[in-house]
């Protein structure tokens, strides 16, 4: 898919969007917009990993603006801190520097915490509350999950959301014959 298929928001053509704002209050709003853009773009094209030096979002050719590497670092750090991004590659040290060199970032449209509350809400609505049970498979591919944020979700991400729920005492997990038959009991 070509970048031009995606409908870019108005702020993508606002020149200051490409200058990291020095005034903190303004910067917060700006970083929030960058996060939104990254999430929506990657979700629209179903791209699970953002490769920092390859990401087409950093440059707007029509506007004649682009972010430099310092700006990109600020935006990436903000994304990671928000819980919507995770570095896939480990810290590496080269002969010239021992600073972390991260290039691949997994995009989390919903954070584990958000998935947890989405799942729990769905469970309540569909009558699983108070002891109802369903399988992991049903959560990502069942008939009742159409339109839910966790529909079609990576099993690993789903489990992380479920772990959060377990931690909150809202469910317990138990093993099934196969991993997709592992079950969740909701409270």
């Amino acid at each position: 898919m070509v970048k031009s298929d995606f409908e870019f928001p108005e702020f993508y053509n606002f020149p200051p969007f490409f200058t990291i704002q020095p005034v903190l209050a303004t910067r917060e709003k700006q970083l929030h917009l960058w996060r939104e853009l990254i999430l929506r773009y990657h979700t629209a094209y179903k791209i699970k990993t953002l490769i920092v030096h390859d990401c087409p979002l950093w440059k707007n050719t029509n506007l004649g603006r682009e972010l430099d590497s310092t700006d990109i670092s600020i935006i990436m750090n903000d994304l990671i801190e928000s819980g919507h991004g995770e570095w896939e590659d480990l810290t590496t040290s080269t002969s010239t520097s021992t600073s972390a060199v991260h290039t691949r970032c997994r995009i989390l449209w919903r954070t584990p915490q958000q998935l947890a509350s989405d799942i729990y809400e769905w469970a309540q609505v569909h009558g699983f509350g108070g002891g109802g049970v369903c399988t992991v498979y049903e959560l990502h591919s069942g008939e009742d999950v159409h339109g839910m944020s966790f529909q079609g979700a990576d099993e690993e991400l789903l489990r992380r959301g479920l772990e959060v729920l377990e931690h909150q005492g809202k469910c317990t997990m138990f093993q099934g014959d196969t991993s997709s038959e592992d079950g969740i009991k909701f409270y």
Partner: protein, 170 residues
């Protein structure tokens, strides 16, 4: 010429040791009042130093004396006072000068300009003040959240702060 300016005598330090600075401050304030108004309420200390000494002709005051005199203007209620900007720029400011009013003025200027932005030069032309002061005012307006910046190789331009309004329309 000194008499025209309202100065009946050029004070020297040896004359009135004790209230030398107080009297100098009053003299300075009287001298500056019309100039301050003309400049829109702000003058850099450097400008004040030049104007004042040029008018004096002899018995020039030193930069230290100027600073001392200006520093006591506030408590003497002379209608103006020393102000330090975060950048280090020091000015004499008329007490009626309002930062917020100036920020709003700059916002309107930006909104009505052809490319919807202002450089320090644009602002200085529009407000009839030096580019240095104009830049300081732009920075002040930016801190207050009225405008935001766009930095390129050609320089810095200021836009209305639309970050407050942008929402994703899905």
């Amino acid at each position: 010429m000194l008499q025209d300016m309202g100065m009946t005598s050029a004070l020297t330090k040896s004359d009135h040791r004790g209230d030398y600075y107080t009297t100098l401050a009053r003299q300075l304030a009287d001298f500056l009042r019309p100039k301050l108004k003309q400049a829109g309420g702000l003058l850099t200390l450097t400008d004040v130093y030049c104007f004042f000494n040029r008018a004096r002709g002899s018995n020039l005051i030193s930069p230290e004396d100027l600073l001392q005199a200006v520093s006591c203007m506030k408590e003497l209620n002379l209608g103006m006072s020393l102000r330090d900007f975060p950048s280090g720029l020091r000015v004499v400011q008329d007490e009626s000068f309002n930062d917020e009013k100036m920020a709003k003025k700059l916002l309107v200027l930006a909104e009505h300009s052809p490319e919807e932005c202002l450089t320090a030069l644009d602002a200085s032309r529009a407000l009839h003040i030096s580019a240095l002061l104009a830049n300081e005012q732009l920075l002040s307006a930016e801190r207050m959240g009225y405008i935001c910046r766009d930095v390129t190789l050609e320089g810095t331009r200021f836009f209305p702060n639309r970050f407050n309004d942008f929402k994703w329309i899905s």
